[in-house]
């Protein structure tokens, strides 16, 4: 299963490192990254392979959202099919 993680927050040093370290700790494999700075805001979208997660996906999604809040970031982890459904015919 593939998932999409989005990270939005004020640009600071080490956001990528923090998030990728967290993902590695959960067993999520990063297979693609798109990142930019928009008006001083850090915006990153990651594509993940989550077949080897060490915890159920729901708990992973809740956990990374909470981790984002601790670090002043808005982080979402969602099954990629929701984006395919909505934006592809």
């Amino acid at each position: 299963m593939k998932a999409v993680v989005t990270v939005v927050g004020k640009d600071t040093i080490g956001i990528f490192a923090k998030v990728s370290t967290y993902l590695a700790g959960c067993g999520a494999n990063i297979i693609g990254v798109s990142q930019t700075i928009l008006d001083d805001m850090f915006v990153m979208i990651m594509s993940l392979d989550v077949d080897r997660l060490t915890l159920p996906f729901g708990e992973f999604a809740d956990g990374i959202r909470a981790y984002g809040e601790e670090n002043a970031l808005v982080i979402h982890a969602m099954h990629e099919d929701i984006f395919h459904s909505m934006h592809r015919i």
Binding site: V4, V43, F57, A61, D62, H76, I82, F83, S85, M86
Partner: protein
């Protein structure tokens, strides 16, 4: 590689986080026909057992899908075979079914269970009258049960005896729950041309032509539509219609995805996606505000019916393409108490019952969640039901009435339920009496299907 457009991803997240996009309900339809027994206690036990068995994992599955896909699923509900059909098989107090259903609803953890219902469009059969007369009591002693009665159809006409009776039943339900803002009346829907696969409460029931169990999904999203229109302030009417279609497509695709997943995980056939714009009292989640975004000063002013007709049609056109099976009520809902913009317009006096009645001729369902003065006599309620049913009858569409006689209150006061049911300002009704007309009883004949002017 990311094979998705980042702007599409961020749009989806914005819809969910900022514009209140959600799945309003996953509703499991369950047939109870195989539970019928001439011994009502045995029948109730079978009903309880079957609901608990079939819906055991419904709530948990809904929550899992919501977490995995990041889309809120607000309600998990059950609809069942109209209970009057079970009541017909044996003697006994139909209230026993209400208690069995309530117990089952609590056991499986659903928000509501619909189907304490009767279909009497052409006349009453065994069990119908007993069940209808028990509705006020059933709704006053239960929290999760919803009730509906179909009193007319384009094929059968309008059963005016049932119309008269339902005026009394709605008033009685309000009186029995007068200490709780007459909440009983908010759980009764009187239909003309009721649909058998409606996932929305309070009017959901599981039709006799449906499979044994089925998953139906209702989507929401007026906030998303309003936001899309707000980005195009100078758009032409055609561009507005196109924008609504595109947005409805995206909303419905999420509903289809959730429906497929729920169906697969629960091993229950997928029934339909209901293409709905269902508002909530939350700011930014209002159908009235969508109409105002099109250029109305206030919902209820001249032009409202035309804007609603455009919206309703465009939602269907966009949604049909997005789902493999469409059904239910499908269209924009206009429940006054559940829509922040409608509440505001009703408070200001700009939105009146007569305008709402006109609006129901071009949109989904009907006069919905409208509080009326507590001293409104039953025959006036019946008259309103007859008017609304006539619109459905002639236009071959579903119409419904969910009125709340606010016992002890009058115009200028409000009933407040909190949550999704919201706040309803008491709206004035024409006090002149239709009593003689209502007391005639009988049946309004089925209409001609040609010469349609």
């Amino acid at each position: 590689m990311i094979n998705l457009n980042p702007s599409d991803i961020l749009e989806t997240i914005r819809m969910i986080e900022d514009e209140n996009l959600d799945i309003r309900t996953i509703t499991m339809g369950i047939s109870l026909l195989d539970c019928a027994d001439s011994n009502i206690d045995a029948s109730c036990q079978k009903v309880y057992d079957k609901i608990c068995r079939k819906a055991e994992h419904l709530v948990q599955t809904g929550e899992e899908i919501a977490r995995e896909y990041g889309i809120p699923i607000i309600n998990k509900r059950i609809s069942v075979t109209p209970i009057a059909m079970l009541a017909a098989t044996g003697n006994g107090d139909p209230l026993k079914y209400a208690f069995a259903l309530e117990k089952a609803a609590k056991e499986v953890g659903v928000n509501y269970l619909g189907g304490y219902s009767a279909l009497v469009q052409k006349g009453f059969s065994a069990g119908d009258l007993e069940l209808i007369r028990s509705i006020p009591e059933a709704l006053s002693v239960t929290d999760h049960i919803c009730s509906s009665v179909n009193i007319g159809s384009t094929k059968a006409g309008i059963n005016m005896d049932a119309v008269r009776l339902m005026g009394e039943i709605i008033r009685s339900a309000a009186e029995k729950t007068a200490d709780r803002d007459s909440v009983g009346a908010s759980k009764i829907v009187v239909f003309c041309n009721a649909v058998e696969d409606n996932p929305f409460m309070a009017g959901a029931f599981h039709g006799v032509g449906e499979p044994d169990t089925v998953i139906n999904v209702g989507v929401s999203g007026p906030g998303v539509v309003r936001s899309a229109l707000s980005h195009r302030p100078d758009a032409s009417i055609q561009e507005i219609a196109e924008t609504v279609k595109r947005t409805a497509f995206k909303i419905t695709r999420v509903g289809q995805l959730v429906a497929n997943e729920a169906s697969r995980r629960l091993d229950v056939p997928f029934g339909i996606v209901d293409l709905s714009l269902a508002p909530t009292p939350a700011v930014g989640d209002s159908v009235a505000r969508v109409l105002e975004e099109m250029g109305l000063e206030e919902c209820g002013c001249a032009g409202t019916t035309a804007c609603l007709a455009l919206l309703n049609d465009a939602v269907k056109k966009g949604g049909v393409m997005a789902s493999s099976q469409v059904g239910g009520l499908s269209g924009a809902f206009i429940p006054v108490s559940e829509d922040e913009g409608m509440i505001a317009a009703a408070r200001s006096g700009g939105l009146k019952i007569e305008k709402l009645e006109a609006m129901t001729a071009v949109c989904s369902v009907g006069l919905d969640m409208i509080a009326i003065p507590g001293d409104t006599p039953p025959e006036v309620i019946s008259g309103i039901i007859a008017d609304e049913a006539a619109i459905g009858l002639i236009n071959t569409k579903t119409t419904a009435v969910r009125l709340i006689p606010a016992i002890g209150k009058t115009v200028g006061e409000e009933v407040d339920y909190g949550g999704l049911f919201g706040t309803a300002p008491v709206m004035p009704v024409n006090p002149a009496s239709p009593k003689k007309f209502i007391d005639r009883g009988g049946r309004i004949p089925a209409p001609l299907q040609s010469l349609k002017n």
